[in-house]
């Protein structure tokens, strides 16, 4: 059924379609519309789930960890400072191998207070053991929640579905909402074998000495590597069932069947803007292939090498920064490319922090800079007003 949905409500309805049993959340702008709609769906009996309105994000993550440990498909949503407060429990969810799914609305970290789009919040959680999936539009947000549950439950790791503040969370778009029976066929009930059960008592998450700890960590890494393959399989299955699939890394060529000399790597809603800029540049005779990165954890190293390796120049547009290093996607992409003999020159642009617009003109500007005489550097800034 085709409906016009706000990005936040696309998340809520995907959670409904996934037949989630336990939701726990604490309010933070711009995540609130997601959980408000879920609270309504539960209150109205549309969604047969328990909504635990906790007193902090830390407790929200703790509550879904408890729920998933007892075998319930669980969901939470957060953003920015809320996600940062969850940090400890993000490690716990992954270490406990619980397939919790979270919607994370990319918002800047303070100070100064800033509620607008910025990816530094989710990227700061890079090393917690969560799968991270970045979305381009509202349809992809809805679909990715469903894909995330299947993937998380397949490899027993938690998954974060990331959407830009306001550009996606508060934007209405026409969305194809799948039928419940189709979703049930794609995503059957979660049936874990090891849960808290008085009839079969076990201790979970207990003291792990140096004799055991390292192997537990190794298994998490193995699960992440499995998740790379599993993501592609599940994404392809989603495509067969629903007619839409996304890929971990998706190349959008300037001209079908050709390779432009320059690739522009984007994430999140900026990809949509890049598609527009790509068309405008083509009219001016400048060829740029857009490469959309959706899966950040596990990081698709080989796919990045395969797709980006042949280019002369690669721009990476980062709406985030690791202070003292630079754009985080650029850093990871360069590290992946380092295993190749011949490497493209990488232009790591930081732009759009704290919700500053990234317009088609922004993209045309970075393209002009990368094609000009400017040498590739460790960090390049675009749109600074100094």
């Amino acid at each position: 059924m085709r409906r016009v949905l706000e990005g936040s409500h696309a998340v809520s309805h995907a959670v409904e379609l996934a037949r989630v049993k336990v939701i726990s959340a604490y309010p933070i702008t711009p995540q609130t519309h997601i959980v408000e709609r879920l609270a309504e769906l539960v209150a109205d009996g549309v969604l047969d789930a328990r909504f635990i309105r906790v007193e902090s994000e830390h407790s929200a993550m703790a509550a879904v960890i408890g729920a998933a440990s007892a075998g319930a498909r669980s969901f939470t949503a957060s953003s920015s400072h809320g996600l940062a407060l969850m940090h400890e429990m993000l490690h716990w969810a992954a270490g406990a191998r619980l397939p919790v799914v979270m919607a994370e609305v990319n918002r800047a970290m303070g100070p100064g207070w800033n509620i607008w789009a910025d990816q530094t919040d989710s990227l700061s959680q890079r090393d917690t053991g969560w799968i991270q999936l970045y979305c381009e539009d509202v349809q992809e947000v809805l679909d990715t929640i469903l894909i995330a549950y299947k993937l998380a439950e397949r490899v027993s790791l938690p998954a974060m579905v990331v959407l830009d503040a306001f550009f996606l969370s508060h934007t209405y778009e026409p969305v194809e909402v799948p039928e419940q029976d189709e979703v049930d066929a794609f995503l059957p009930a979660w049936e874990p074998t090891e849960i808290l059960d008085p009839a079969d008592p076990h201790a979970f998450n207990q003291l792990a000495s140096p004799e055991y700890y390292m192997e537990f960590r190794y298994k998490i890494q193995q699960a992440m590597e499995d998740a790379l393959r599993a993501h592609d399989e599940i994404d392809a299955e989603f495509g067969r069932r629903f007619g839409r699939s996304y890929g971990a890394v998706h190349r959008i060529p300037c001209r079908e069947g050709e390779r432009a000399p320059l690739a522009l790597v984007t994430t999140g809603s900026v990809t949509g803007t890049a598609r527009v800029a790509q068309a405008a540049l083509r009219q001016k005779g400048i060829g740029v292939d857009v490469v959309k990165l959706k899966l950040f954890r596990p990081f698709p190293h080989e796919e990045i090498r395969r797709v980006l390796g042949p280019y002369d120049r690669v721009i990476v547009l980062d709406r985030n920064i690791s202070f003292g290093s630079g754009g985080i996607f650029a850093s990871e992409i360069r590290a992946a490319l380092a295993l190749r003999g011949e490497q493209p020159a990488v232009y790591p642009f930081v732009a759009g922090l704290g919700g500053r617009d990234i317009t088609p003109q922004t993209i045309e500007s970075v393209v002009a800079r990368a094609l000009g005489d400017e040498p590739p550097s460790d960090i390049l800034w675009e749109g600074l007003k100094l």
Partner: protein, 292 residues
């Protein structure tokens, strides 16, 4: 009079508690009161160690070990999941130390109590962060030595009144219990299990290591804490109906304080001041029990 307790034991020997550990004795009594259908969540505390390292466990009930400040929230999540699969019978119990309850876990406990989650929260109180080596907590009593309140500057302030804090949430049931009074404790566990909503038990559990006392006197110390009125046994129903379960002899606090290395630096004046605090608290408790 012979003690009458459920005969079943749900705790194995071979656990890792120190000799005379009040927390180990308290767990044994908790499990006697709980029955078969129970799930424990244990935030960081001595019992994170006592229960045994992977792949062993000293308990015959399922245990979810969890982070320090999450006792109230994790139990809420477990409860919701059990309810979702139609199991409303299994009792979800959080078993936390005083640091995890009075301090770092107070927020999530308060949240769970405010929602009146159907859980039993048990705080075993050994009056300091014992697992990390005897650092002062909100449960450490006035005048006590700990490694962060050394004898040159022992704890100046009073122990937080966790029972009043929990009663103020108007939860169905809050009670104190002691390892020196097993029948009283088991009865309170059973009563808590029979009630819906948030139940809170505050269990006095001496720590010979941290209190600098011989291991064989921990039960005696727990009894003295009750009989000196330092730790009276009482219940609070719906946050307002107070019942004192045992009328203490009313020994002077010296009887309790003078046996413990952690208090040996205290002067006569210090003890008089502590006696006055204990008398005042006891009078207030009696007044509340009269209203109830």
């Amino acid at each position: 009079m012979p003690i009458e307790l459920p005969v079943h034991e749900r705790m194995y020997s071979g656990h890792l508690a120190c000799p005379g550990c009040g927390a180990a004795i308290a767990m044994r009594f908790l499990l006697k009161g709980l029955g078969e259908k129970a799930v424990l969540s244990i935030p960081a505390c001595c019992w994170s160690i006592i229960g045994g390292p992977f792949p062993y466990t000293a308990l015959q009930v399922p245990v979810l070990h969890t982070a320090f400040e999450t006792g109230g929230a994790v139990a809420s999540g477990i409860r919701a999941a059990l309810d979702a699969r139609g199991d409303t019978e299994t009792q979800v119990v959080t078993w936390a130390g005083d640091g995890g309850t009075f301090d770092i876990g107070l927020q999530s406990l308060s949240g769970a109590a405010e929602r009146n989650e159907n859980i039993l929260y048990v705080c075993y109180d050994n009056e300091a962060y014992m697992n990390t080596g005897v650092q002062s907590s909100g449960a450490t009593p006035t005048g006590a030595w700990t490694t962060t309140t050394p004898t040159g500057s022992p704890k100046p302030t009073r122990k937080k009144d966790i029972m009043q804090i929990m009663a103020a949430h108007r939860i169905p049931y809050a009670a104190t219990a002691s390892i020196a009074y097993p029948e009283d404790m088991v009865r309170k566990v059973q009563k808590a299990v029979s009630l819906k909503g948030t139940k809170f038990l505050h269990v006095y559990a001496p720590c010979p290591t941290g209190w600098k006392v011989p291991s064989e006197i921990s039960v005696k110390l727990a009894r003295l804490a009750v009989q000196t009125r330092i730790f009276p046994l009482y219940e609070v129903e719906e946050g307002v109906r107070y019942t004192i379960n045992l009328e203490p002899v009313g020994y002077l606090v010296d009887e309790y304080y003078r046996t413990q290395g952690r208090f040996k630096h205290l002067t006569r004046e210090d003890l008089d001041r502590i006696q006055a605090q204990v008398d005042e608290s006891w009078d207030r408790l009696k007044a509340l029990a009269r209203i109830g």
